[in-house]
């Protein structure tokens, strides 16, 4: 959600906070602000709005929060009274998914391109300007967070119907941007009884406003958000309107927002109101009455928050508060939140409101939970997992984590498959951890990593008698099959399933009763991301006396750039003491570099130029 500082001021004329501070404050009260930037002489903030705060998908809702935080007066635009005509617009609501709609007919519209301020506003919100009427509907949507729409009655006819696509009466719909959507049963549509004109969240090509449009039906509505969400998902179409209509919006804000829209369209297009105001609102919002102990914010937060602060904060947010009632040592009051805050339904919700405005920074950070233990409920299998990992590390094995999703099943009868997996080449959950290890070994071979010794502990999955079974499995690979067997004997785990250089042991099948509590080793070692194949180069060095191999290795290692040095070893020592010849063959492995650079480094290190 983009917010332009100067436009925020139309709701908060006294707002005078530096951009850095405003960014941080908006974040601290719950709307994470990634950054702000200066574009076209405007300061634009980029906010992540929480999914339960649909009200803040418009300037109005955010301004209400900031008014409380900075103790500023909230400026509600004053709209002149309209003179409505007596005729009702011809609108039929034939769907229970319409929670509230206001609509009006305007004639004599003088449409045009938008003025610069409006074009700039929309551009900064990454919305393409279309024409004045359409742009004003988008402007009001961004100000109040409630989508609205205009229909050209010359194209649609005078009568509009809100209906669900029962019995798939309508088969397809073409959007404003010329995309044809195949309609599904129950989709909420606006039609003229013959053709679909619009979905609840995107307009249609056959009803759109163009520069020559003169007569329009203007509407603003809030729908059953589940319906909008389903339609948006099924039709794979996401719009600024669908993002908002999926949230819990406030039907009581419609009169304010819609009247400002009418006012702006009249003002800029000289349109005439040609109908009465249509207002369909079958089930007005019932506000909850929340029993609230004003000391509760202190109880939950663990710090002392003055009662006066709590009650003032809730009042400033627009809540109605009953007088305080004392019952013995307890005090309580009834809090009725404003309709624009449907997220406030429980006393805990009110606590969050109080604490976020009081400031989380008041809560001390140096008083952690007491270390008094509660009963140990650690499952024994976890001790076995950790113990096994440490044993394998001590035997020289490296731990890897591999993909639990695989491309082919080992046994089709009991394989667990995924549905609608984006990574469609890997649709199955592994039935053996060896499947995953093989991919890792292949990868190491591509990287020319010699002699891998690796292991993994992870889950393997089966479907048996319509039940999903998962077990901890240990998979091990050694480049020497003989050594693999020798090493695994030391683990005392059975049975072991061998597959050439691979082995698997099901840890869940071990005698867990005999497993004791185990405190694993903490170690910090270096792991590297290989971006190129390893490069292995040998070098002979001849001396006239025996050398200390360790000193030799250290001495040559020092001559190599540590950023490309992987390993060094002596792979051969040839000696003829009678002739004072001692030849040492070194093998150096280089990483994350090119052949050319590695060779140059190598020749220099061993003075072979």
């Amino acid at each position: 959600m983009k917010i332009i500082y100067s436009h925020l001021k139309q709701f908060l004329p006294d707002l005078d906070i530096k951009s850095d501070k405003l960014r941080d404050d908006i974040t601290l009260i719950g709307h994470f602000t990634n950054f702000y930037e200066k574009i076209d002489n405007e300061i634009v903030f980029d906010l992540d709005i929480k999914v339960n705060r649909g009200d803040c998908l418009g300037y109005y809702g955010l301004a209400r929060d900031l008014a409380v935080f900075y103790n500023l007066k909230l400026n509600i635009p004053q709209i002149p009274t309209f003179e409505f005509a007596s005729d009702n617009p011809s609108i039929i609501i034939d769907s229970t998914d319409v929670l509230r709609i206001q609509a009006i007919k305007l004639t004599g519209v003088s449409n045009s391109t938008s003025p610069d301020w409006l074009t700039k506003f929309l551009n900064l919100h990454l919305i393409n300007p279309i024409n004045l009427v359409v742009d004003l509907t988008n402007y009001i949507m961004i100000l109040y967070g409630i989508p609205c729409h205009a229909f050209d009655t010359t194209k649609t006819g005078e009568s509009l119907v809100w209906e669900n696509n029962l019995h798939q009466k309508y088969s397809q719909f073409t959007t404003l941007d010329n995309t044809t959507l195949k309609l599904e049963p129950q989709n909420l549509l606006i039609t003229n009884s013959q053709n679909p004109l619009s979905l609840s969240f995107i307009g249609g090509k056959n009803s759109g406003i163009d520069i020559s449009t003169q007569n329009i039906i203007l509407e603003m509505a809030i729908y059953n958000r589940s319906r909008v969400r389903k339609d948006s998902k099924i039709l794979k179409t996401v719009t600024e309107a669908s993002i908002r209509l999926e949230k819990h919006l406030d039907p009581e804000t419609i009169p304010l927002a819609f009247s400002q829209l009418i006012h702006l369209i009249q003002k800029h297009t000289h349109a005439k109101i040609s109908s009465s105001l249509f207002d369909h609102y079958p089930h007005p919002v019932i506000l909850p009455n929340i029993e609230f102990d004003p000391k509760f914010p202190s109880t939950v937060s663990g710090i002392d928050i003055p009662i006066e602060f709590s009650t003032n904060c809730l009042t400033d947010l627009g809540c109605s508060l009953s007088p305080l009632v004392k019952e013995g040592t307890k005090e309580r009051l009834i809090v009725t939140p404003p309709s624009i805050r449907p997220d406030l339904t429980l006393s805990h919700d009110l606590v969050e409101e109080v604490v976020r405005f009081y400031g989380y920074h008041h809560i001390p950070t140096n008083q952690p939970l007491s270390s008094a233990p509660t009963p140990d409920i650690t499952p024994k299998i976890l001790h076995l997992v950790e113990m096994t990992k440490d044993k394998l590390v001590s035997l020289g094995y490296d731990e890897v984590l591999s993909w639990p999703l695989v491309s082919t099943p080992l046994d089709k009868k009991n394989v667990v498959s995924t549905q609608d997996n984006i990574n469609s080449s890997f649709p199955y959950l592994r039935q053996s951890i060896i499947q995953s290890l093989q991919s890792q070994v292949d990868q190491y071979q591509r990287l020319k990593l010699n002699h891998p010794q690796i292991f993994e502990v992870g889950k393997i999955f089966f479907q048996i008698d319509k039940k999903y079974i998962e077990k901890y499995a240990l998979g091990v690979y050694h480049y020497s099959e003989t050594q693999l067997k020798k090493d695994l004997e030391q683990l005392n785990l059975k049975p072991i399933t061998y597959d050439n250089n691979y082995a698997q042991i099901i840890l869940d099948n071990q005698d867990l009763n005999s497993v004791k509590s185990y405190i694993p080793q903490i170690s910090h070692n270096s792991a590297y991301e290989l971006t190129h194949q390893l490069i292995v180069l040998d070098a002979n060095q001849t001396f006239n006396s025996p050398q200390d191999p360790q000193k030799l290795l250290a001495s040559y290692q020092q001559k190599i750039n540590p950023d490309t040095f992987w390993s060094i070893e002596i792979i051969d020592i040839y000696s003829k003491p009678e002739k004072n010849i001692y030849r040492y063959t070194f093998r150096v492995t280089y990483f994350n570099t090119t052949d050319k650079i590695a060779k140059k480094t190598h020749l220099a290190a061993f003075n072979l130029n």
Partner: protein
């Protein structure tokens, strides 16, 4: 035609008996030479039925690698035993012995486990194939709740079974299976329906801690989180705590760490925010406790969770998230 397993078995026997480097060379020619056993097998591949040819080719490639590895291992052993008579054997041996390594994610998990063990926490686990009930509903996310959009799921069987999208499902199991008081912390891998590329993966790792007891407060939560961050990242780390939304907690708390790369100035790592989001937390929602049969008027608790992958990547200078799983992560052999 040779049986492939027999070839390896015969080679192993032969290698056990040989004593000199010259004998090794002869074996190498016999098996891997131009007219050796392996090449003969490759030349006979046309005799294999076409539908099995690809698989047979892969088996031969693996056989070749196995034979090379066995010969290399024997060669190294012989060189160590026969040629070090005039040098310090133990020094060379040290340069050749391999030490093992734990995966960086495991290292981080263990570090966190230790921190929480010192605070009296148990560890825990839960299934990776999870039900909608424990992954969402018991965490206060009913069907069609927009919060479900925060987590694209990989389903096993729609709509009831999926791969867990968050470690909070383990929390839901914990609450259902144990009576308070308890203090528990646990790592877990979680799944999202994301295309795998340099920046995204379908699997990643989270760590979560859950406490339910009498009189647990936000002060306990923030104090405990701060202790954890300081032990993980050092005493100088700067953390801020802010309001954040998660359906399973109320109030919600979001910890952010001052970006260690830019110190708050804004950089690509912190997406120019100056701060790095470190996960989510809050006081366990009373409805979540109620659904688990725990009376929220008596018991209160907190939960917090954090991702481990991005921070591990930053610590190890790993740029590609695919490196962590089945990728290009490798460990240097033992250092001098």
């Amino acid at each position: 035609m040779y049986q492939l397993n027999q070839i390896v078995s015969l080679l192993t026997d032969k290698l056990e008996k040989i004593e000199t480097i010259d004998q090794i060379e002869a074996i190498k020619v016999e098996y891997l030479g131009r007219k050796g056993i392996v090449n003969q097998l490759f030349s006979q591949i046309n005799q294999v039925p076409s539908e099995k040819r690809q698989q047979h080719g892969q088996q031969l490639n693996q056989l070749k690698i196995n034979i090379q590895n066995l010969i290399d291992l024997k060669s190294t052993t012989l060189k160590k035993s026969s040629k070090l008579t005039t040098t310090k054997k133990e020094s060379l041996t040290r340069s050749l012995n391999k030490i093992g390594h734990l995966h960086p994610i495991t290292q981080t998990e263990r570090h966190l486990n230790k921190i929480f063990r010192n605070l009296g926490f148990s560890t825990y686990h839960g299934p990776e194939i999870e039900t909608d009930e424990f992954c969402f509903q018991r965490l206060n996310v009913p069907q069609n709740h927009p919060a479900r959009d925060m987590q694209d799921s990989i389903y096993i069987q729609k709509p009831d079974y999926l791969l867990r999208t968050q470690t909070s499902s383990i929390e839901a199991r914990l609450l259902a299976n144990h009576k308070p008081p308890f203090k528990v912390a646990f790592p877990g891998s979680v799944y999202r329906n994301e295309k795998v590329n340099r920046s995204n993966h379908f699997i990643f790792h989270q760590y979560q801690a859950v406490v339910v007891d009498k009189n647990v407060t936000m002060k306990d939560l923030i104090g405990t989180m701060d202790l954890m961050f300081k032990q993980l990242y050092g005493q100088d780390v700067t953390i801020r705590y802010r309001c954040k939304y998660y359906p399973e907690v109320e109030p919600g708390v979001g910890p952010d760490m001052l970006c260690f790369q830019c110190q708050g100035k804004g950089c690509p790592l912190c997406k120019h925010a100056g701060w790095i989001e470190m996960g989510g937390s809050g006081m366990i929602h009373p409805l979540v406790l109620k659904m688990a049969g725990i009376d929220p008027k008596i018991w209160t608790g907190f939960a917090f969770g954090m991702g481990l992958d991005r921070l591990t990547m930053a610590q190890k200078n790993i740029k590609d998230i695919r490196t962590l799983l089945g990728g290009n992560l490798a460990y240097k052999p033992n250092q001098l």
